[in-house]
């Protein structure tokens, strides 16, 4: 186990290192820079700004400086948001996105697993067909369409739900619904097929021959085997959703990390681009480790090596 942890941490560090290099290179290859603007700025001013943020130095040196500070937990100053550090921005926006993501993924998980199981159990009947139509729709319709639709219907036309920000629990309903629509549909389909697979296994016949009722058969004997593909999907999903959905945050005006992520790229806010990307990478790597540990808990045949 200790060997496993050391190995995983080693791989994680290597992954993050590679991602930081790739991000840094790509970022500097994009034309433009943080100090371009419509107003004419004198070369002297630009030069002075470059010196201030250390952008006058050669690229390798810039990278090394960033990484040195990064290791010490200092992500640098944001170029676009005057007076704020990247640390400050990430740690004030991330909790907002994370809370939203946590709720959405939980909802998607509960709904998806239930609907998938119900569909599998009623294979070929109208319930199954209905759920499959809904889930196909969920996969096909992009989140900005869902979000806009919800906004117009429940916010603008019916005046049922608030449309801006996240002040009260009511504010969460629409963003969570919009964010969980796709994952719910995906998990439903995933669960249905793996459940059908599990229900055809010999051990289900054994359980039946023991006199186990349908409910126990489904939720104990089949579920534990069928849930594994869902775990694989949910780990990275949680990481992605946690770093924010740009579209949903934009539409509902939510001060989350997703919005910052996109804004810093369009604004060439170099320290922010590096910080948010590496933050996402760390989160993803971490979630993958969590997924692996969950596998082990669910399926005893899996050995962590």
């Amino acid at each position: 186990m200790i060997k496993y942890v050391i190995k995983r941490v080693g791989y994680a560090l290597l992954t993050i290192f590679l991602i930081s290099i790739i991000t840094f290179t790509l970022m500097n290859m994009i034309p433009g820079g943080p100090f371009l603007s419509e107003k004419a700025v004198s070369p002297e001013t630009t030069q002075a700004l470059k010196v201030k943020y250390g952008l006058d130095k050669p690229l390798p040196e810039q990278y090394i400086t960033f990484m040195k500070n990064f290791i010490h937990g200092d992500l640098g100053l944001s170029i676009k948001q005057k007076g704020r550090t990247a640390n400050d921005i990430i740690f004030s926006t991330f909790p907002v996105s994370a809370r939203l993501a946590g709720m959405s993924v939980l909802l998607a998980l509960v709904l998806g697993v239930t609907m998938g199981s119900v569909a599998a159990l009623n294979r070929g009947k109208w319930v199954d067909s209905l759920l499959m139509v809904i889930s196909t729709l969920g996969i096909a319709v992009p989140s900005f369409v869902v979000a806009s639709f919800l906004l117009i219907t429940f916010g603008v036309n019916l005046h049922l739900l608030p449309t801006l920000g996240l002040k009260t629990p009511l504010h969460y309903i629409m963003p969570v619904a919009a964010l969980s629509f796709y994952p719910t549909a995906y998990i439903t389909r995933l669960m249905r097929s793996s459940m059908l697979d599990a229900l055809n296994q010999d051990y289900i016949r054994t359980a039946k021959a023991k006199g186990v009722n349908k409910f126990v058969m489904l939720f104990k004997h089949a579920m534990r085997n069928a849930i594994i593909p869902v775990i694989t999907y949910v780990g990275p999903l949680l990481a992605y959703t946690m770093t924010g959905s740009f579209v949903v945050e934009k539409i509902f005006t939510i001060p989350g990390l997703g919005r910052e992520f996109i804004n810093c790229i369009t604004g060439r806010d170099y320290p922010m681009v590096m910080s948010t990307t590496i933050f996402l990478a760390v989160l993803l790597v971490f979630m993958n480790v969590v997924v692996d540990i969950c596998y082990k808990l669910v399926d005893p045949r899996i050995k962590l090596k």
Binding site: R205, A209, G211, V212, R224, D299, P300, R301
Partner: protein, 336 residues
């Protein structure tokens, strides 16, 4: 139904309603089984041997249905039972061991939890008692260190050990009847013998009956009291093990016996296979289903299904050859 009779199947018909049409998997099967008796059902794949046994546990999968006949088991009218009644009976009065022990146990639960689940379903034992019984059962099927085994998972066991667990699980509530569906097919030969021996030994201990479904005549000759030979959903011959092995009357039984290698005979004789393939059960022939493959086939065989001829008490076979012999014996003296 006599007092000693545990199971009485009368003219059972089971069909699978597939998109291609009705598949008559079992068409008119009748047999009885006494307490403590071992009945072997032999036949090739698709002959309906498993389906006939699964029916009495209510385990035939959709789209299979009982379309006729009666099944009397231990006072139950099985052909009329609901799913709920079946659940109560499964495991407690009739148990089953499946062919492939590698896949028949749930990989994500410990051996102990799977064993104890059976006890939880059908007994009033508390947790401690269930555990004690599970340990006792594992010891009964010849496992060392049963306390340790309880905490292990199926993947840590070999095929033979898993089949022992399956047997322990099947016998947990001391059922009246054990259905063994090719219990040794997936095991290697030395383990096969051990498993069969174990089943016979345990049968004596708790006085249960066994239905042994197999295509391996060697298996049945060792352990069975009586044998039913099935072909295309029908029992073509049924009798004591000695009747079937030493005095086979149906052409199919003879063919089966010819296809077993004989070790005691000199030389390297070729085995005699039964030519042809089994009939399509979607459109079974009007006559004897074996007729197209039979080397003694007569005209009538193709047209009409023969009735059973009783050769000796308990030994019956459905073959026109027998009817013909009987007829000739009766008429024999008169003609000349």
């Amino acid at each position: 139904m006599s007092a000693n009779c545990l199971l009485d199947i009368e003219n059972l018909q089971v069909s699978f309603f597939t998109p291609a049409g009705e598949v008559k998997a079992v068409s008119g099967v009748s047999y009885t089984l006494n307490h403590g008796e071992v009945l072997g059902i032999v036949g090739e794949s698709g002959s309906g041997k498993s389906v006939s046994a699964y029916t009495l546990m209510g385990l035939i999968a959709n789209p299979g249905k009982i379309v006729g006949g009666t099944v009397d088991f231990n006072g139950h009218q099985v052909h009329k039972m609901t799913e709920k009644e079946f659940r109560k009976m499964r495991g407690s009065e009739v148990s089953i061991i499946f062919q492939d022990p590698m896949t028949s146990l749930n990989p994500v639960f410990t051996i102990g939890s799977q064993l104890m689940e059976m006890l939880r379903l059908h007994t009033n034992k508390n947790k401690e008692e269930r555990k004690a019984r599970a340990i006792e059962l594992l010891r009964l099927v010849g496992m060392n260190e049963p306390e340790k085994r309880l905490k292990q998972y199926p993947h840590e066991f070999s095929g033979g050990m898993r089949q022992r667990v399956m047997i322990a699980m099947a016998l947990a509530c001391e059922p009246k009847l054990l259905i063994a569906d090719e219990p040794t097919t997936a095991l290697d030969v030395t383990i096969q013998a051990q498993i069969l021996e174990l089943m016979v030994e345990l049968k004596k201990k708790i006085n249960m009956s066994i239905i042994m479904i197999t295509h391996d005549l060697g298996v049945v000759s060792d352990v069975c009291d009586r044998i039913a030979v099935m072909y295309a959903g029908k029992i073509v011959e049924i009798g004591s093990t000695d009747d079937i092995f030493y005095n086979p009357k149906h052409c199919y039984t003879e063919g089966l016996l010819r296809s077993i290698p004989k070790l005691h005979e000199k030389g390297h004789e070729r085995l005699v296979p039964i030519e042809g393939v089994p009939v399509d059960l979607l459109s079974p022939p009007a006559g004897c289903p074996f007729a197209p493959r039979c080397d003694k086939c007569m005209k009538i065989c193709l047209r009409q299904m023969p009735e059973y001829t009783e050769i000796s008490p308990g030994h019956k076979s459905a073959c026109w050859q027998l009817q013909k012999e009987q007829f000739e014996n009766a008429e024999g003296g008169n003609k000349e």
